[in-house]
């Protein structure tokens, strides 16, 4: 009997291996029927972590949890009215409602299994409706496949089963990123390294001359030689500092180029990131990355490629000279080096997390800025200036507190290092001094004096390498955040290059399910077909999912289940640029750029001819008001279109959409925020625009939908009615009710107005 589930396990759809402890009970309950799919839950019915199991066959389901009586229950579909996921908070139940109205909890799970159980619930509903089992199993299989499609190389979840892992393909590690940016400027950098090696070598000359002065020239009172030496020294200085200037210039140039490349790349990358990324990431933190993190990173790169090389060279040079001058003393002066190495490791470990914490604080500040400065009008209108200041201060103080801790470590650290290194010089003074006092032949006074100078020069590179771990940790924190963007998955353009010749405008949604996050399901099994040229109204209460349907159609979000077709081609297989260029989208909140009106309209078709732009403005009923502005088409708009009324912005955005001559028009609440006169203007514009194009119109005012051939009524993420105005009126359902309510309130409003006029 045990075999039933065992043999099936390979072909069985399941999210995890079936726990073996459940096998026996499962087989008993199955009584020989074979399961089609399984969900292994991660909670017990009492809400504690633990495993549970749901098995679904063609006519029954089985739930196993130790808390069920006898460890499990079996229910026949025919005894169930419905089975669905009850989302709670951080966890969910799969419940069945029996025909006599009783609720039975089947299994419990965290949000990790909600998608699957949703699919299972849909499956049961479809089977009960008499749909084909194999077909429905296929539908559920997609959900399972989605769950299982991980990149074999990196283990990340893929957008669809056969997709390339963009994460893997474009993956860059920190080192290769650094190299990538340094490479184009490698010549300049090498020249500058050579220059610095020369200047460093020259810096090593003066102490040696000191030795000559003390030991030979001055005791021998050789005036002529003194002058030669001084002139030579002058030449050395001159060369050293002029080369130094040249090097600084080259370095800055290379640095600027690196930073410019970094900024451009991150910005470019940010353009192609999906909406999902922007839903989760604050604008402030993105701006922070492009602005200040790039500087951090560039600083570090230069440090590594330039100073590190120079300092290393200097260190080696000094060691060599010291060894040649007196190897015993040289060994003494190296004593602190291992201590320094150990200390840097220790401090580096401490600093890493601190810089990461600091970064979070810094980015919170940017977030607040980018949030409040553009909304200054809101702040003022609620006289909330002082609160805004306080909140901002709190975040800055928070940052300051964190920086204080970091500052302690990062200030103690280099000084501790210097201390140890300086102690090394005491040793040299002592040992060398006693040599000289005891007239040890090994050491002259001149050698000792120059030795001390070399030793003090030696501290600079040691200090440098010690503090490198500080700036390394700091740069690392920034780099990680930059990598967040550079390595983020861009929008998938699976159908790149696949541009169909003709775009008729037939649109089909097939079993589309979608949620922004797992705590709430937004679209539920949405299916509909729109014929080319149809004008479709989407109505529904606020928050029902109207804009979300459009967002999916626009491919702003790709991780929905089910399929969307345009002209019978899956939209994921069409070139994204081509696809979007065929759609004119007038958004719920029209946004303009800080630019002239002309450019704002021409935005959709760069290089558009003036006639075209004026024509588009005309169609959108915008030309008249534009031409009355003193600067007409040259009027520069403020941020987000400041300087225009809502209705004017709306018409500009219609003009913008029209200009690109799309095959598919979408209006999301184009007339929601305007008076009835402007509404008429916009409505006229819309009527002109939609001719011959498949059109979606979302509208709260149902009167604007009179021209629609078809109306979709959305309620809580489901399409509950679909048909023409007359059909839906005859149906006397939700649409009918909405019409009734609106015409009633319109009548009331009209009566009121009439009263006021009297």
């Amino acid at each position: 009997m045990n075999e039933v589930i065992n043999t099936d396990v390979k072909t069985l759809l399941t999210n995890k291996p079936i726990p073996s402890v459940f096998e026996q009970r499962a087989n008993e309950l199955l009584c020989g029927s074979s399961p089609l799919m399984a969900v292994v839950g991660d909670l017990k019915l009492d809400g504690k972590y633990g495993e549970s199991l749901l098995l679904v066959c063609a006519d029954r389901l089985i739930a196993i949890d130790h808390l069920h009586e006898n460890g499990g229950i079996m229910m026949l579909f025919e005894d169930i009215e419905k089975a669905e996921v009850k989302r709670m908070y951080g966890n969910a139940l799969f419940r069945a409602k029996t025909n006599d109205g009783k609720n039975v909890d089947l299994i419990r799970f965290t949000y990790s299994a909600t998608d699957l159980c949703d699919a299972v619930g849909d499956f049961i509903r479809h089977i009960k409706d008499g749909d084909d089992i194999d077909e429905q199993t296929e539908v559920v299989k997609i959900t399972y496949d989605n769950l299982r499609c991980f990149c074999p190389k990196c283990g990340r979840k893929l957008a669809s089963p056969n997709a390339d892992c963009l994460n893997c393909k474009g993956k860059s590690k920190i080192a290769s990123i650094l190299y990538g940016y340094i490479k184009p400027h490698i010549r300049m950098l090498i020249i500058s390294i050579i220059l610095s090696v020369i200047t460093t070598a020259m810096a090593l000359v003066p102490p040696y001359i000191t030795k000559m002065m003390v030991d030979d020239i001055i005791p021998q009172k050789n005036m002529q030689f003194l002058i030669y030496t001084i002139v030579a020294l002058l030449g050395v200085y001159l060369l050293q500092y002029s080369l130094g200037a040249l090097r600084a210039y080259l370095l800055r140039l290379a640095g600027d180029k690196i930073i410019a490349d970094l900024k451009k790349d991150i910005y470019a990358k940010a353009q192609f990131l999906p909406m999902k990324f922007y839903d989760k990431t604050s604008t402030g933190s993105i701006i922070n990355r492009i602005n200040s993190d790039t500087t951090q990173l560039q600083n570090f790169m230069l440090r590594i490629t330039q100073e590190a090389v120079v300092q290393l060279f200097m260190m080696i040079g000094i060691i060599i000279i010291m060894v040649i001058m007196n190897w015993k003393l040289a060994l003494f002066s190296l004593i602190p080096v291992p201590i320094v190495a150990i200390l840097s490791r220790f401090f580096g470990r401490k600093l890493g997390p601190m810089y990461r914490r600091l970064w979070r604080r810094m980015s919170s500040i940017s977030t607040i800025l980018s949030d409040t400065i553009p909304s200054i009008k809101v702040i003022k209108s609620f006289t909330n200036e002082n609160n805004a200041i306080n909140k901002f201060n709190r975040y800055v103080d928070d940052w300051m507190r964190e920086d204080k801790t970091t500052a302690k470590i990062s200030s103690i650290f280099p000084n501790a290092i210097t201390f140890f290194v300086t102690c090394g010089s005491l040793v040299i003074w002592f040992v060398g001094g006693s040599y000289v006092i005891n007239d040890n032949t090994d050491l002259t006074l001149g050698v000792l004096v120059s030795f001390i100078s070399y030793a003090s020069m030696f501290y600079t590179p040691v200090n440098f390498f010690a503090s490198l771990s500080d700036s390394y940790q700091n740069a690392l924190a920034s780099t990680e955040k930059i990598l967040d963007i550079i390595n983020a998955e861009p929008e998938h353009n699976f159908g790149e290059g696949n541009s169909p010749k003709f775009f008729e405008g037939k649109i089909e949604f097939r079993n589309v399910n979608f949620s922004f996050d797992r705590s709430k399901k937004i679209l539920n099994d949405v299916s509909f077909v729109i014929q080319p040229g149809e004008t479709v109204g989407i109505v529904g209460t606020t928050g029902s999912g109207k804009s979300t349907i459009i967002n999916l159609l626009m491919r702003f979000y790709d991780d929905y289940e089910g399929e969307i077709f345009v002209d019978d081609i899956n939209i994921k297989d069409i070139d994204m640029d081509f696809f979007r260029s065929k759609i004119g989208f007038v958004q719920q909140e029209p946004l303009m750029f800080r630019d002239t009106i002309f450019n704002n309209i021409a935005y959709s078709l760069p290089g558009a001819h003036v006639d075209q732009v004026i024509n588009a403005a005309d169609i959108a009923n915008a030309h008249t008001f534009i031409s009355r502005l003193p600067d007409a088409y040259d009027t520069t708009l403020g941020e987000r279109g400041v300087g225009l009324s809502g209705g004017e912005k709306q018409r500009l955005s219609i003009a913008r959409a029209v200009l690109k001559n799309p095959n598919l028009m979408i209006f999301d609440e184009a007339t929601s925020a305007v008076d009835s006169e402007t509404e008429k203007l916009i409505q006229d514009a819309i009527d002109r625009v939609i001719r011959g194009r498949t059109t979606f119109m979302i509208a709260h005012r149902l009167s604007t939908l009179r021209k629609a051939n078809r109306i979709l009524v959305v309620d809580k993420g489901r399409i509950i009615e679909n048909g023409s105005h007359d059909e839906l009126m005859a149906l006397k359902g939700k649409y009918y009710k909405l019409i009734q309510i609106q015409s009633m309130s319109e009548k009331v409003a009209a009566d009121k107005q009439a009263e006021n006029f009297e």
């Binding site: 990790s112 990340r156 989760k280 979070r360 996050d517 705590s519």
Partner: protein, 162 residues
């Protein structure tokens, strides 16, 4: 529509089917199968509980759980405890990274569990009262009531992320 704030002293709540409660007002008016929702699930666990009917329409609001009669309070709390699952992390057992996804194995008041954190910067939030809220890759939530009350090792592992 005026909000219906009920008087905590005169209302009687009883659990119906785990996550639903039945309500009886002193007027004798009865409601069944209401679903309690915290209006402030993060900042005010014991305050402002909205009771929704099966359609999702709010029937009433209870301002303060503490002021309910003991049995009613217990019923409501049981019901809320069933619904709201924010395990409190008591120990971080393991924290490993693979492909920039962090796997945390933790001990919680609901048992041991392993979850993944996709982006620690976005998924871990520190509240001003010192609580740390964590959202995992599946949008489940967890809470660390007081980081510094954990053992040393857990603190050390978590600190870089906050």
């Amino acid at each position: 529509m005026p909000r219906n704030f009920v008087d905590e002293n005169t209302v009687k709540l009883t659990v119906n089917d785990k996550i639903y409660i039945d309500v009886e007002l002193y007027t004798g008016e009865k409601f069944t199968m209401l679903e309690p929702h915290r209006l402030f699930p993060v900042s005010g666990l014991m305050k402002y509980i909205s009771l929704l009917d099966e359609e999702g329409n709010e029937q009433m609001i209870i301002r303060d759980i503490e002021r309910l009669m003991p049995e009613s309070k217990e019923a409501l709390l049981n019901c809320l405890n069933e619904r709201y699952m924010i395990p409190k992390i008591t120990r971080l057992i393991k924290r490993t990274e693979k492909f920039e996804i962090w796997m945390w194995t933790v001990d919680t008041d609901r048992g041991e569990f392993t979850f993944e954190i996709i982006n620690s910067y976005q998924s871990i939030k520190i509240l001003y009262d010192g609580r740390i809220l964590i959202k995992d890759g599946n949008d489940n939530r967890y809470e660390i009531p007081d980081l510094y009350a954990l053992d040393k090792r857990s603190i050390k592992l978590i600190l870089p992320d906050v």
